[in-house]
Amino acid sequence: MTEFFQTLVSGLSLGSIYALIALGYTMVYGIAKMLNFAHGDIIMVGAYAVITTVMISEAIPGIVAVVISVIVCVVLGVTIEFFAYRPLRKAPSLTVLITAIGVSYLLQNLALLIFGSEQKSFKLDFFDMIKPIYIGKVYINGITFLTLVVTVIIMIALTLFINKTRLGKAMRAVSEDKEAAELMGINVNRTITLTFAIGSALAAVASIFYGGAYTYIRPTTGSMPGIKAFTAAVFGGIGSIPGAMLGGILLGVIEKFAENAISQWSNAIVFVVLVIVLVVKPTGLLGKKINEKV
């Protein structure tokens, strides 16, 4: 029983990371109707921003490095949207998709150029400050605890933002109907920029937890969590915010249990589950099929 809960905790923690990244995929898809495959690499940039800041001076507290990382990622995400995606707003979706893949390679190769190919150790001072806790016999280390708590807070805040605030409602309006939103006086381009900013900030936060859990980063660090989070977003129903949360968490839990059972097959099992879900419910767990009234 202890083992079950132990696995559950690590699954929830990994799932939280996936969920944070999946939110970026799903929000951008919902609003700009594009798959931003460079999103995973934002995590990598976020992680490098953290270790670079800490390297400059040991005196810089970890939390400052986190803030800098969030700022770097937001600026990067918004810049990518402005230069790479905005000119393609009316282009066929395949063009945009290929551009996104191009941006992804660009980011990876820039990181390779700047930081080299060898892996770098990822550590922040506050990881050790939070003492591990035991619930019964289940051990939860500091970074896992932090991941779970921060993710829950972010999810609640994001849900409230989307459903209750003026800007959040505007985002929903844009994702439903850009022209109608424009007629309401909503600046659609600015709303899309805001979406990229939020998605990138969440990716930066995810990068801290991902780096904390895996302790090493390299220029390709973003690809695997990126593709898993994309899977999670599709799993939950792409475009749906609760879907990305649920999909991410479930994917993490499934992956950890699969790893426990037959370790080398865990990734395969994750994707088999995705295939089954998509066969049974093509819109994903919480995705809605919209019947347009003419």
Binding site: R166, E176, D177, A180, L183, G185, I186
Partner: protein, 234 residues
């Protein structure tokens, strides 16, 4: 006073020349109707006025301000509201949230205006917390109009408000348009239902394949044999 002046616009969809040298005007306090068959370019003209499409030539001015190149989202603050074809309400949002979106640009407290929308459309009040996608066609049209009114427009542009509605609802919608007009809103109405439109319009323009074919007062056009034959079923 001239409120809206459309001067010699030409609009293209790719290579298709949809609007050809169209000019017309709407004076303050009028109801002006654009009528014509399906595909004559009525909706295209409205979309061009509200900035969703661009004209290659000419100019559009609103309250003596040139808006030819103004971004669509800036027009509502100038007093122009556009209820698009097919209503285009936000189907996944509640009735209340749709009205909030109509008031998106407003910084003042607009609670009173929500009350007055509810007074005009009591059905919306009954369903204010319902998801808009669950409303009937008539209710959706009311919501689309209510949403536009939240922006306090001086010019209300309505694109096919009677489309797909049962006759009794069509009468109701036209009744509301009349009321809105009487309360001081200038109206530019696009309709396929020429008979109804001409009955309430001060003036009307008849569009044929992207051009203004005939124009005149509502009464004149309703009485013209040519119009009767082509648009009024005999």
């Amino acid at each position: 006073m001239r409120m809206l002046a459309v001067n010699n616009i030409n609009v293209y969809y790719g290579k298709i020349h949809a609007i050809k040298d169209v000019s017309f005007e709407v004076k303050s306090g009028e109801i002006v109707a654009l009528i014509g068959a399906n595909g004559a370019g009525k909706s295209t003209i409205l979309k061009t006025i509200s900035g969703l499409l661009r004209s290659k030539t000419g100019s559009i001015s609103f309250n003596n301000e040139l808006i030819t190149h103004t971004e669509a989202h800036k027009l509502i603050a100038k007093g122009m509201a556009h209820v698009p074809e097919g209503r285009r309400i936000f189907l996944q949002m509640t009735v209340m949230e749709n009205l909030d979106m109509g008031a998106y640009i407003r910084k003042d407290n607009y609670k009173k205006d929500i009350e007055s929308v509810f007074q005009r459309f009591p059905r919306l009040q009954e369903r204010k917390n319902q998801i808009a996608g669950t409303l009937s066609g008539g209710e959706q049209q009311m919501l689309a109009m209510g949403r536009a009114l939240m922006g306090k427009p001086s010019l209300l542009m309505l694109d096919e408000p009677s489309m797909g509605l049962a006759p009794i609802l069509v009468d109701q919608i036209f009744g509301i348009i009349k009321e809105l007009h009487e309360s001081g809103t200038t109206i530019l109405l696009v309709e396929q239902n020429a008979e109804k439109a001409l009955a309430i319009a001060d003036r009307a323009y008849v569009l044929e394949s992207g051009k203004v074919a005939v124009s005149g007062t509502g009464k004149e056009l309703a009485a013209s044999d040519k119009i009767k034959k082509a648009y009024l079923g005999g």
